[in-house]
Amino acid sequence: MTGDPDMLTAVAVSALLVIGSLFSVLAALGLLRFPDLYTRMHAASKAGTIGSGLLLLAAGIHAMDIAILLRALAGFAFFVLTAPLSAHLLAKAAHQAGYRLTNLSVTDQLPQPAPKSRPH
């Protein structure tokens, strides 16, 4: 039975599915459990990206088609490239808007911008 290519892909796809969905659900749990926006962002931008990336990779492998696999890989690369960008933008916007860090925080060396009067 072992060495059978069907079995091999099935096992690989199953492993990717289980690991990817675990990462996704843990990222969601982290979103719920972490104390403030900035710590939550860690969960969403790392575990979340890896989770959906692995699931996409599983779909690509399961298709047994090089074009589909390449497409899935392109999607994976796209998520890995955009996740830090959106996390960075959101963190920057939140900090500039004045959302503070949790009380647990030990240090904040990023200077808070002086509150500007908003244009009409």
Partner: protein
């Protein structure tokens, strides 16, 4: 144990886990307490939906779903960027007390959108 049973059981596991993930994320979006938290929840929702679509692609055998997942990723990224710009432009005003990560009482939360709009009008 053959290939099909392994695959179908892991697909069931993945679907269950992702549904739980969606539920937890929706809980975070409902709870807030601040707008950036909700935006982050939305971002996470899109990420989990992409994973869900990938699993459905395996389950159903339609490889077209992968393209849909990629397109959803594009849209989700753009939505998060737009929301970040919006947060930057809007500032903090309507929910000053919520900055420290403390939960806001539900009644106040539901009125938030309206009162924000009223505040803006008042400022003008």
């Amino acid at each position: 144990m053959n290939a099909a049973t392994i695959l179908s059981s892991s697909i069931s596991f993945a679907l269950a886990a992702l549904s739980l993930g969606l539920l937890l994320t929706v809980l975070r979006i409902l709870r807030g307490p601040t707008l950036p938290d909700r935006v982050l929840g939305l971002d996470m929702l899109v990420a989990i939906a992409i994973g869900l679509i990938a699993v459905l692609a395996i389950k159903s055998g339609f490889n077209l779903y992968i393209d849909i997942a990629i397109a959803l990723g594009l849209v989700g990224f753009l939505a998060t960027v737009a929301f970040a710009r919006f947060i930057l432009a809007r500032g903090l005003s309507p929910e000053k007390d919520a900055g420290a990560g403390l939960p806001v009482p539900g009644a106040q939360k539901l009125k938030r959108g309206k009162s924000a709009r009223r505040n803006k009008k008042g400022a003008r």
